[in-house]
């Protein structure tokens, strides 16, 4: 009996560390909050795969144990700032402040990207992420639903002082994906491509750049405030940045 329990436990741990579940999304036409140029009011999202849940501490620990250059005591400072994985109790130990089933946070874009690459996957790009995150439990595009909007905005309004919940607790959306809203912020491959104004001659002035970009975005659809918050946050980051509630999930399939 005892050994049967041991076997069961081992299986459970094995399953947690195994490759994450990828679910198919798309293809479809989509009106993104990021303007794609005058000629194209909507963007085509090709079929892609997205992980059902964000990457967990346990999964990321298994990764850094095999890819030691991503341990917090070894990572090159070009690739991650000083807070990288700082809530783990040691470079190779999660400890009490980082439970295995919580989403991994305080990871940089470079680290997230390297993790996905090692799984034979990649980071989703913004359009893919936004396409998947536009869904609620019943419909593929719930962005005009005031309930969808207020649920997201409520989360933005919550103080980020409580411990992060474990992954997989949020509602399952139209595609079977969880935790796109209400748990963490997530890296995307093209995080540094979102707020670029339509005129490159403005680019020398970052203040003007952000103003123009944000102006163009908000004009497209004021109802997209919930998504604009994401973009504003991602735009504030550098590739080596980490944050307490910033994690990621991987995607598969051909990048568009």
């Amino acid at each position: 009996m005892k050994s049967a329990i041991t076997v069961l436990l081992t299986c459970a741990i094995g399953a947690a560390a195994a490759a994450a579940e990828l679910l198919p999304i798309g293809p479809g036409e989509f009106s993104s909050v990021v303007p794609s140029g005058d000629a194209a009011p909507s963007v085509h999202v090709g079929r892609f795969m997205l992980e059902r849940r964000p990457v967990t501490n346990a999964e990321f620990l298994a990764y850094v144990l095999h890819h030691r250059e991503w341990r917090r005591d070894r990572v090159a400072s070009l690739f991650a700032d000083g807070d990288y994985l700082s809530h783990w109790s040691a470079a190779d130990t999660l400890g009490p402040s980082a439970r295995p089933e919580q989403p991994v946070t305080r990871v940089s874009w470079f680290a997230a990207r390297a993790y996905c690459e090692a799984q034979g996957e990649r980071l989703p790009n913004w359009t893919e992420w936004e396409y998947a995150a536009a869904a609620d439990e019943r419909t593929a595009d719930a962005r005009r639903d005031p309930q969808w909007q207020s649920r997201i905005l409520d989360w933005y309004g919550q103080p980020a002082t409580h411990a992060l919940p474990r992954v997989g607790m949020g509602p399952v959306n139209f595609y079977g994906i969880q935790d796109l809203h209400g748990l963490i912020w997530e890296w995307v491959e093209d995080f540094n491509a979102l707020l670029v104004s339509a005129d490159s001659r403005d680019q020398a002035d970052p203040v003007k750049l952000q103003f123009c970009g944000a102006g163009a975005l908000s004009l497209k659809d004021p109802g997209n405030y919930a998504m604009l918050m994401r973009i504003a946050f991602l735009t504030s980051l550098e590739a080596r940045s980490t944050a307490r509630s910033l994690g990621f999930r991987c995607a598969g399939g051909k990048s568009p």
């Binding site: 070009l78 491959e189 540094n192 670029v196 104004s197 490159s200 680019q203 750049l209």
Partner: protein, 211 residues
Amino acid sequence: MRRIRASLALSGALALAGLQPAFSQEVTGHHHHEDMPAGIAIPGDSIYQLPVTLQTAEGRTLPLADLHGRPLLVTMFYSRCTTVCPVLTAQLQRLVERLGPDDRQQIRVLMVSFDAVRDTPDVLSAFKAEHHIQESNWIVAHASADDVRALAAALGIRYRELPDHTFNHSALISLADREGIVRARTGELAARDDAFMRAIHEQAAAKPAPR
């Protein structure tokens, strides 16, 4: 490690003798990059930490890290760009012209294209000819889309490909020291940026770090 030391010593000897080794020999004549990560310690904040491989306008494969050893002016562009890129290129040329001859010999210039698909070596060669870029220490190159994204991220350059395959991008020139650590940046495209000029001079005058 020994080979790198030897190659640095050789460059030093040539420099003392008043000879400038031809760029093509210096960069592509050695294939030390394979053993570089284990061989020499690249500072943690160096851009040479990036496993980025360039392909130059001349069609040569050039690991980014092979550019270590000399100060580097680096920017990103694409050849079909008609708005900001000609201004950016002209500003880089002005920066180099204003340097003293000694400083000019020390530095390298690197322009990497955002357009991994269309900016082939032939297209980039035509770009160099059009802009009269002849200096052997001025590299125009492209890289895979993944490498372009990583380099842009490390340099803090934002860019986005539009449906018509043009790119919106920030126009930023970075100055990396001999070890690849970014020491200064400028977004000034028209006027003189004296602080940036001073930074280039300081890096060009700084002695190579002993190995």
